[in-house]
Symmetry: C2
Subunit: 145 residues, 2 copies
């Protein structure tokens, strides 16, 4: 489907979020493994499996065209030789629009090293509470006295 090679899982993730921000369907599908066992869960959506369901869902989501800015942060990454797992927060914002902006999304992304470089095999996204406590362990412990 695409000859694009991603040398690392991070390269695949960067391409995934670039395609998501640009509503670029070909760019999006170039990131996914050509495998019927790929899994995609959009926020509050059904579990989609296989190229047809996954492509169809992105086509629908991208129909409105680009506009939102996307910020990716607080990545937790676990990497193996063949599989890599990234947990991130996705925050969409609409430039020029007043607050409140949409709440963040928490996403689990899994990448597989294939003969054609690293490709996405799982994207599981769900709405996160508005104030994620994810950075709490970086903060100094609270001392009450």
């Amino acid at each position: 489907m695409s000859g694009k090679i991603f040398p690392t899982a991070q390269d695949a993730e960067n391409a995934f979020y670039q395609a998501l921000e640009r509503c670029d369907l070909d760019g999006m599908m170039a990131v996914w493994a050509e495998d019927e066992d790929i899994v995609c869960v959009h926020p509050a959506g059904a579990r989609l499996t296989g190229q047809d369901q996954v492509r169809g869902s992105w086509a629908k989501l991208f129909a409105a065209g680009p506009g939102a800015r996307l910020r990716i942060e607080q990545q937790v990454a676990i990497g193996g030789m063949m599989l890599a797992v990234h947990s991130v927060f996705e925050t969409f914002s609409m430039p020029g629009k007043a607050e409140p902006q949409p709440a963040p999304i928490v996403a689990t992304n899994v990448y597989l090293r294939t003969a054609a470089g690293w490709r996405m095999i799982v994207h599981h996204a769900s709405p996160a509470p508005a104030q994620p406590p994810a950075a709490a362990r970086d903060a100094a412990p609270k001392i009450l006295h």
Copy 2:
């Protein structure tokens, strides 16, 4: 924390869901890797990282004690040498209670092969629409005429 050894990712998953059904906190934490980069997202919950946050969340969830039956199905599994990823539907039911039962949960579970056997490193669960179309690809194609 625990000397329990899971020889495969599936063994770890079986122990995870057994502990979940039984509200067994020690059994649950025996499945998780002893690593500060573990990630747990409960349905509609915040992203939790590290042993303390993860244990605390299960302790709270288990406080009411067992009662619900849990059915795990439609597993999609991708396994590597060091990491394995399972996508499943979790369906809770309350024996003796009339319908409607709770809607299914879709979960992405990631396991890491550690020196102490396979352990969970990511559990990302979110509510799924009541009628998951996940088995659609097994069905014969619809022909309209």
